[in-house]
Amino acid sequence: MTLSRLFGILSAIVAALFCASLLIGPAGFGIGDSISALIRGDGEAVTLVMREIRLPRALLAVMVGVSLGLSGAALQGFLRNPLAEPGLIGVTSSAALGAVIALQTGFAASFALALPISALIGALVSVLLLLLLAGPRGGSLTLILAGIAISALAGAFLSLVLNLSPNPFAVSEIVFWMLGSLSDRSFDHVMIALPVMMLGWTLLASLGRGLDALTLGQDAAASMGIHLGRLRLRMVVGVAASVGAATAVAGAIGFVGLVVPHILRRYVGARPGALLPASALGGAAMVLAADIAVRLILPDRDLKLGVLMAIIGAPLFLHLIYKTRRQMT
């Protein structure tokens, strides 16, 4: 399959799922009504639902999916390891810690965007710490070790916050937020996440050639004029901005960044550079599909997106491992 054909198919899937996401929901409007309400703005209640609830939700699903897919592909390419995922460098858990502290202290209730802003601050602190710990040279081992240490630290503080929680309601609020969801989000969330994510996407999209060269190892890539230190800096800041913003608006959503590049790798001839745009589209499709699924499977119970993703993602991943194992023997 040629690359342009692959991108065409993935784009069509994303477009179809985006429309489906707009049209599916508990309010149960007709398709014609929904579309005309969205575009023309007639019919007050329908317009309100379409424009203020479903459109931001569908947009956020695309944005979060692109961020996670792109970050996963970039990290796997940089570390030359198909098991890398965005959570590895500690940004996800640090953003979650920021959000959880905001929930615990009541800062989250002080204004509408206090929660995502706190999460972004958490992500920023973790990146600064990561770059400080990992040192100036472009190595990957120190990066992984520093990421694991930061993840563990953020996890410990998360547990501490839960431990010291004043009442069970606060605990359940925190736990439910951490499960990850896109319900009840507004355009404010889109507007706060989008600029940060776009910064991240721009940085990650520029990595293609460097990641391709890294296929031959760090030394060969450096000899071909790739500045490894700068490549790593762009990768870390790019992943932190996109995943930090995604976690800030949607909570922790796993497996997208791990599974999507893994599925799509064979269709791009395993080239890490080409895998970046493919995984961005694939991530958007996967999050859109999962967000539609949580509305269809248990419409009354508020099934969390992150939970569903893990339930689908883990067996999918096991299947991939099984197939890889068969290829190797």
């Binding site: 050639r209 031959l216 004029g225």
Partner: protein, 252 residues
């Protein structure tokens, strides 16, 4: 014409010099073999010449901006790494990375260089196969082809022929010969002193980080040097096929 000049190059590991005050200059058209026992500092010297290793002293390559250096010298590391199952042709095309403008697609010239490199290493018919599925020797040929595709005036290679069958060892040295005849400069770390004696125009002998001999193979592979540096005795004979070198026994 001088292609590469290195002056007082020193690399320290802690207090201990791994490469100690090495000065040399390479002319265009030379195939130079870098020889020495394990741990003599061959890899470190090559990496420092390229500027991939922190060092003191100067190297005319290391002082170039990264992109210009990549168009001047190609480097083949000793570790043969192929991280992803990419097609052989794609992998060899990576040698063109230093020549591509930002975001540009490979030009006809890039494709031609890739095709020449594939043909040189007898890889026709392998183009679409996943590089990771090939045997170790075939992978080595693919990686040499990547270096050739870079089409640089200087080639630095660390053990380029280790693990190849005899025919491809000779073929690779002959390709280096042809490139040198076109005016390129080749510097390769070699362990096979027989091949080094026969195919190199010049040998650099490295011992404990110091350059202890530099000259044509017959002047470097003397009994004293072989005993002092490698601890071996060898049969060295000038024949109609060139210099023949056969290690015989350990002398210490």
């Amino acid at each position: 014409m001088t292609a590469l000049t290195v002056t007082d190059l020193t690399v320290l590991r802690g207090e201990c010099p791994v490469v100690d005050q090495v000065s040399l200059s390479l002319q265009a058209g030379e195939i130079t073999g870098l020889i020495g026992p394990n741990g003599a500092g061959k890899t470190t010297l090559l990496r420092a010449i390229l500027g991939l290793q922190p060092h003191s002293g100067t190297s005319s390559l290391a002082s170039l901006p990264a992109r210009q250096r990549a168009r001047t010298a190609a480097w083949m590391p000793q570790t043969r790494e192929i991280a992803w199952p990419v097609a052989v042709e794609t992998l060899v095309m990576l040698g063109r990375v230093p020549h591509l403008a930002g975001g540009a697609k490979p030009s006809a010239e890039d494709r031609a260089a890739t095709a020449r490199a594939l043909a040189d290493m007898a890889l026709n018919g392998f183009e679409t196969r996943a590089a990771t599925d090939l045997s170790g020797g075939e992978q080595a040929r693919v990686l040499i082809a990547r270096v050739l595709a870079q089409e640089t005036p200087i080639i630095l290679a660390d053990e380029p022929i280790a693990g190849l069958d005899p025919a491809f060892q000779i073929a690779t040295m002959q390709i280096f010969r042809r490139l040198a005849d076109q005016g390129k400069t080749i510097l390769a770390a070699l362990h096979d002193l027989g091949l080094a004696a026969r195919h190199c125009t010049r040998l650099l002998l490295l011992d404990k980080g110091r350059l202890v001999a530099d000259g044509p193979p017959r002047d470097v592979l003397t009994p004293e040097n072989l005993h002092r540096v490698f601890g071996i005795a060898a049969h060295v004979m000038e024949t109609e096929h060139g210099l023949i070198f056969q290690p015989l026994e350990i002398t210490r």
